[in-house]
């Protein structure tokens, strides 16, 4: 089992479908995607954002299993 061969074919696949170039979505990310602090006053634990807006939160309070 060649790990590096697996990696190469995976990388080639990602490049072929257009998902390998970091530029496209990175161009959106920095400016517009929520940063950790943005939607909740508290710090998120290391990048694990689970952020939900208030209306969803209220909605789910009423339907919790």
């Amino acid at each position: 089992m060649s790990n590096s061969r697996t990696r190469t074919s995976r990388r080639n696949f990602l490049l072929a479908v257009g998902a390998g170039g970091a530029a496209t979505v990175a161009a959106i990310g920095a400016k517009t995607l929520p940063q950790a602090e943005k939607s909740d006053a508290k710090k998120e634990p290391q990048g694990s954002g689970y952020r939900v807006s208030e209306h969803i939160r209220n909605y789910y309070r009423t339907t919790l299993v």
Partner: protein
Amino acid sequence: MTGEATPHAAPVEVAPEDQARAEFYALLGRLWYAAPDQVLLDAIANAPPLTAEGAHGALAEAWRQLQAAAAAADPAAVADEYDAVLVGVGKAEVTPYVSHYLVETGRERVLVALRDEMAELGLGRVGATHEPEDHFAALCEVMRHLVGEGAGDAAMQQQKNFFTRYMNRAYNPLTDQVTASSKTSFYKHVARFTKAFCDVEAASLDML
């Protein structure tokens, strides 16, 4: 935080293609978490195209259509359609909570397993967050986090396991329902792009 420089462990090396995946997950997490505002719509519309080779054009095409939809979208209308379909009053027309797609009954068991798994990864809900963790947006955030952990064998396996357990069987019904809804317009394109991206993820993680 005192602003004092704390010595960081050397940043994990993330290959460009994995960086791109993390960015896609961040974008999808954002779009499924709430409707985009004008700034985000503009950013999507003005972002570079994806370039694909030959027959592998599904993702690039879905991206192109999402960009066109973003250029034409009115944020208030998009917010209305998001609320109408994915939040709803009483019961959402399409639930973004994946356990509904994974099991017929015993949804709590999926949640418990997911919670345990997230706890093992050092992840969890924050502050006043009360809702279940199986929101599709939250899963995208977990994947983004895992991709950022590097591409070592164990890290890749973890990504594969998480995707397989919680996203792989859920993304098709979720995105199909959003696409089929008579109330969606912009979110049809979000759904199609999500599906195309998850197809790529499923195929590429399957190579491991």
